[in-house]
């Protein structure tokens, strides 16, 4: 019973971490985006939002709680109400296996931790389908379709490049993946890290892959009809997912809680992990502020014609090179260096291939339609 109680308390504490962190992260990303756009963002002028408007998110949260929940007349009531619950549950469920520190600072250290993360995040499109279908709104439905086709497609490069750290550490256990990173995997297999990062940006629906809620095309996508705190739930889940993806990326490719002096002070590991995740999160925020939105066919073509084949090639090359170097019984540093060289060569090969194909497409397009600006090739999606 003691174990049960401890697990329950741990789960409760861990579920609170993303919810509290998000309050700060929303404020921070609003500030960063405002500076990128030459604005001030939330300020404390004329409000009681505290120094630098630190508590603006709290004020917004309270305001949104008081708003009326409007359920459209034609909506499928039960499913409409269930969708925001599901989306937040899925967003928080991933935190059960996040290792916040060397030991103990994790709810469960599943032996299939990395797989659990993938399995839980594969539930995300399902909440979008629920929201999009139950709203009985064409924009919502188009948004759900876009989200699902995008997420199902980008799951392939994401899982394939997640297999690379699993392959190198020989375990799906997140703690063991961190233990194996005396050199962070991001420095050993940068190509896998890059494909994983791009695929998770697409999974999150962050710009430039923000097709599911493209506000200039389909209002707000699958949550068009939601108001009040039900909209707040989608907004919250969006930020939690961004932060979770940053943490998972830090665990898989940036060495998790590893850092100086962690052996002496284990709690410092949490600080290192959160710091790494915060930096990754800020890359996402900069993407958000700076990127244009792609077209849906460009997004899908980029995945199926470039990212998925590239991640398959990365997985095969890494497996072969790693096996060869292990068979030759080289030093650990030589193994890392060999993998790094193989990854860089593959990356250069991919870029060369891309430029050749791109040039051919451009030439074909200009021949067919003279006067067309030569930019990205038209996707001739199959």
């Amino acid at each position: 019973m003691d174990v049960v109680l401890r697990t329950l308390l741990g789960a409760l504490g861990m579920a609170l971490v993303p919810l509290v962190a998000v309050v700060f992260l929303i404020w921070e990303s609003r500030k960063v985006i405002a500076r990128m756009q030459d604005r001030l963002g939330p300020t404390n002028a004329g409000t009681y939002a505290g120094p630098f408007a630190l508590f603006q998110t709290v004020a917004d949260g309270i305001k949104i709680l008081t708003k009326e929940l409007i359920i459209p007349q034609g909506a499928d009531r039960g499913v409409f109400i269930a969708a925001p619950i599901v989306v937040v549950t899925v967003a928080i469920a991933v935190w059960a296996v996040i290792p916040l520190g060397p030991s103990g600072l994790q709810v469960v250290d599943l032996d299939v931790g990395a797989f659990y993360v993938v399995a839980i995040s594969s539930l995300a499109p399902f909440s979008m389908i629920m929201a999009g279908w139950s709203s009985r709104n064409k924009y919502a439905e188009v948004g759900a379709f876009r989200a699902v086709s995008q997420i199902i497609g980008y799951e392939i490069p994401q899982v394939l490049s997640l297999l690379v750290p699993v392959l190198l550490s020989g375990s799906l256990r997140l703690q063991q993946i961190i233990q194996a990173q005396s050199v962070p995997f991001g420095a050993v297999v940068p190509l896998a890290a890059l494909t994983y990062f791009l695929a998770s940006v697409a999974e999150l629906g962050r710009l430039p892959f923000e097709l599911a809620e493209a506000d200039s095309e389909i209002v707000a996508g699958y949550f068009t009809e939601y108001s009040g705190m039900m909209f707040g739930a989608f907004y919250l889940a969006d930020f939690i997912n961004n932060f979770t993806a940053s943490i998972v990326f830090s665990v898989l490719f940036l060495g998790g809680w590893r850092g100086p002096w962690v052996d002496q002070v284990p709690l410092l590991g949490t600080f290192w992990l959160l710091l790494k995740a915060f930096m990754v999160f800020n890359v996402l925020v900069l993407f958000w502020a700076a990127m244009p939105r792609l077209r849906i066919d460009q997004v899908l073509a980029f995945n199926w014609k470039f990212l998925a084949p590239l991640s398959i090639a990365t997985l095969i090359v890494t497996a072969l090179v790693d096996k060869m170097l292990t068979a030759m019984a080289v030093e650990p540093w030589a193994r890392s260096a060999g993998l790094l060289v193989a990854n860089l060569l593959l990356g250069v090969a991919a870029l060369v291939f891309l430029s050749i194909v791109g040039r051919r497409f451009t030439r074909r397009d200009t021949l067919r339609r003279p006067g067309l600006p030569t930019g990205l090739p038209d996707s001739d999606a199959a």
Partner: protein
């Protein structure tokens, strides 16, 4: 009854209840959602059996894959948003099919010898052994490769069907 048994009974009841709703619900989309709920119950039972890998597979393949595809298929079906529902036809013949299927399956399951002793405890290297068995020539290498070949054929077939003419 122990806590484990009570939890199992709760999840089993949930799974079966959701499964009943799948076949009795008149809205096909709701039936698909109940199907997902029932998959969830099965994943929870796998977790109770201390097999998180099987639970993950259940979530990843059945909910992330099969159920999402089912829901999309339902969404693009014509007239799925309509409120006037078709009446159930052929109740008798479908009941006949269902009952005979149930009888055949329960007979097969009852024929199977069940182990008397409790199953061996899950050991640490279980997942690694499963992986080794799948690629071992004396294990399941041949079925594994045949399945992958079949999936490749399905992929090519889907591309052929979907290509623009």
């Amino acid at each position: 009854m122990s806590v484990g048994q009570l939890t199992f009974l709760a999840f089993a009841a949930f799974t079966l209840g959701a499964a009943v709703r799948v076949v009795t619900h008149r809205l096909v989309f709701h039936a698909a959602l109940w199907l997902i709920a029932s998959f969830f119950g099965i994943a929870a039972v796998y977790l109770l059996l201390e097999s998180p890998f099987m639970a993950g597979v259940q979530l990843f393949i059945y909910i992330g894959g099969v159920a999402v595809l089912t829901a999309i298929a339902v969404m693009v079906t014509k007239g799925m948003m309509r409120r006037d529902l078709p009446t159930m036809a052929n109740v008798r013949s479908s009941a006949l099919v269902a009952v005979s299927l149930f009888l055949v399956m329960s007979w097969t399951i009852l024929q199977m010898p069940l182990p008397e002793a409790p199953a061996s405890p899950v050991f640490e290297e279980g997942l690694a052994m499963l992986g080794m068995a799948l690629v071992d020539p004396r294990g399941y290498l041949l079925p594994f490769e045949v399945v992958s070949l079949m999936l490749l054929i399905v992929l090519i077939g889907a591309l052929y069907v979907a290509r623009e003419r």
